[in-house]
Symmetry: C2
């Protein structure tokens, strides 16, 4: 499955959150990562994040795409990161 992860976390935790996310997904833009990931790896990612974020302050959103067949990505302006393989 393909996951788009966006996070909005406290300044003190950004470094830790980004470090964890980068183990599983590709950084594409400030607070945005994406990539193919297995169910098992996705579970591990969530467990690791849960240990770091402040549940009542931070926000992490996962968009889970079972298939990328019906989706595409368009970029305006500079391409900051990411891989071309998405779509």
């Amino acid at each position: 499955m393909f996951v788009i992860l966006v996070y909005d976390v406290g300044e003190k935790r950004v470094g830790k959150v980004l470090k964890i996310c980068r183990k599983y997904l590709t950084w594409v833009q400030n607070s945005v990562l994406e990539g193919e990931i297995t169910e098992a790896a996705y579970k591990r990612l969530k467990i690791e994040l849960k240990r770091v974020i402040e549940e009542n302050e931070d926000s992490v959103i996962f968009y889970i795409l079972r298939t990328t067949k019906y989706s595409e990505r368009e970029t305006m302006g500079v391409k900051k990161g990411g891989e071309e393989i998405f779509l």
Copy 2:
């Protein structure tokens, strides 16, 4: 179609970009909006954004989902915005 928009733009342009995006999509998190949008409205959104952003400095990514049938959204921590109708 359903669009997830993420932006990473210069401080001076954030207000303008957010104002434009909010005309078309729902704010869900810092620099992230989402929502159902027609092709015509999507074109207008891009034209308006092109007038405001600095092409060689700012980055806007659109994830376009033709259908949300194969996708879902999961939130960890606080829910900052958005509507429940997504998936």
